[in-house]
């Protein structure tokens, strides 16, 4: 009969309408500015720079290797390498970025900078309410705006941050142990060098050995 399909369809819309008052199955929206869904752990928006410790500029993990600048597909990262070096988290002297700018009006949030960074210095943020009235200067983020503490990163991506932190701690321990061992070895060598070496023992046997050079 003509019209049964229509009536069936209307029954479906009625079902959906009534159902939307009863469960989250059919009403999936939330009232946005007041209510917010918790962001997913993997969610990403724009990159930021991670720093350790209290000082945002001294503690930056970035060593200005410029890999992210090269690999960035839309080329929105601008880095100037410093002239001098400063110690990193294990005490090794490293370069640091004199300037580090990201133009987020160009950035396409692809996460490739994060992937290629060997120092875990650049990570993805989840902030998305970024509208401004100035589309040039306000969207070109400088080093000062990009630097965010490690605690913030731990909050955003707990699993990944925990893994990185343990790795860094291990490396630091290893580096300290190595430094200690090195220092000990050095001290030992110095001690050996300082002490007078004993005469080489006389060699038994008929064949005379080549003359050992006499030190001291």
């Amino acid at each position: 009969m003509l019209g049964t399909g229509l009536i069936k369809g209307m029954a479906q819309t009625a079902k959906n309408f009534v159902g939307s008052y009863q469960g989250p199955e059919r009403l999936v929206t939330v009232q946005y500015p007041e209510e917010r869904l918790a962001p997913k752990e993997n969610a990403r928006n724009f990159p930021f720079l991670v720093f350790d410790g209290d000082d945002a500029q001294k503690g930056l993990r970035c060593v200005a290797c410029q890999i992210c600048e090269k690999e960035c597909p839309p080329k929105c990262i601008y880095i100037n390498k410093s002239k001098d070096k400063k110690p990193d988290y294990i005490g090794k002297p490293q370069f640091y970025p004199a300037t580090f700018d990201i133009d987020i009006s160009v950035c396409m949030s692809c996460q490739i900078c994060v992937e290629v960074c060997p120092f875990d210095a650049i990570k993805m943020d989840k902030v998305f309410e970024l509208s401004t009235t100035d589309r040039f200067e306000a969207l070109l983020l400088h080093k000062t705006e990009l630097a965010k503490p490690n605690e913030y990163f731990q909050e955003l991506h707990p699993t990944e941050a925990a893994e990185i932190d343990t790795r860094f701690a291990e490396e630091k321990l290893k580096a300290e142990a190595k430094a200690k061992a090195d220092a000990e070895a050095k001290a030992k060598a110095a001690a050996i060098a300082a002490a007078p070496k004993p005469e080489p023992a006389p060699v038994d046997g008929s064949i005379p050995t080549p003359v050992a050079p006499k030190t001291i």
Binding site: G5, G9, K40, E41
Partner: protein, 415 residues
Amino acid sequence: MSFSNSGNTGGETVIPSSDSPSLNGVTAAIDFDEPQKSYSLLPKQNSEVPGELLEVAMGPHHPSTHGVFRMDVVLDGERIVKLKPVFGYLHRNHEKIAEGTSYLGSIPYTDRLDYLCSMSNNWGYALTVEKLSGFQVPERAEYIRVIMAELTRLVNHICLVGFLMQDMGAMGTPLMYAFREREKILDLFEAASGARMMCNYLRFGGVRCDLPKGWLDEARKVVENFPRFLDEFEALLSGNEILIARAQGVGVLGKELAVNAGITGPMLRACGVNYDIRKVDKYGIYDRFDFRVPLGEHGDVFDRYMVRVLEMRESLKILKAALRDIPEGLIVDAKAKSRGLRPKVGEAYGRIEGPKGELGFYLISDGSANPYRYRVRPPSLINLTILEDMCLGLTIADAVIILGSVDIVLGEVDR
């Protein structure tokens, strides 16, 4: 009302009707010496034809054109006597940019080809680079790829049906139901890859990161609930008299024309040609899954709608099996490297059955870090080429739904 003009059996080019002499003038040889007066699509007017032909530029900013796409139509009353698709408004130089970018750097650009199905686009490109460089994909990554590609197919088809209904005048309701379900799948994408649409998830020889904890259970829940939604959706639409009246017998595409024009995907299968690259090529691990290829019979708009609905059901079958069998293990080939990849000199063509048709990537490597040539075979563009043949003789309202049933995304058409 008669659709006799479009009801051509077989695949010859449609000639609107022999009794409109206005079109016959077009076939006359072009006289190059005669200066062209002005650009016009209007065929030469014949004084015997009563009334005038009207040229209308539909688009580029028209709500029914799915983006910035223009149809220059010539109308006789309300009937279309000539139609010329005009595109290029969204051209972003994708292929040339890729020639200047590293192999890794092109993956996020492939997301932006067909922005509804970024996961499938990633797969097509990754497949080609794997052919070029010989990486092996681990078992778990293969399963993840199949799961993502089939979820993408659900997203694409559900959106398409929603938009098609919107074009037919069902303002909002089916589209909103479709978007509600799509949202659940996009949440899965976000949990796995970090982004809802521009996923950038696949890598050469695997995927970027492993699935987060509990993701598979979430996905199983979504897949289990999806058939219920599909049943509802079909109850809402498939038997609807208005849909049937609008869609059946409209935009008929013959088998021969479809094959000759290189049409692929659900468009081709709606004409009754059994061709699915998942079955033909068996790329990835598709030979392990048991699924059927739905075929249409008439090649009209209704068949295209129906083929897509049935394809979603088959996709759900694949998804169920893949989510059941997915093993633990590596997610990326240990030998694969993404940064600084320099494949050996050679060329490769990789193709997948994207939701819209055969999505192919052609790469030539000269041994450097950038591809020497990068070419995309976009299904949307090639499926669009026969638009005129399907629309001639029909009304302008039919042209809108025919365009909707072709399933184009302008990001892919223009690249």
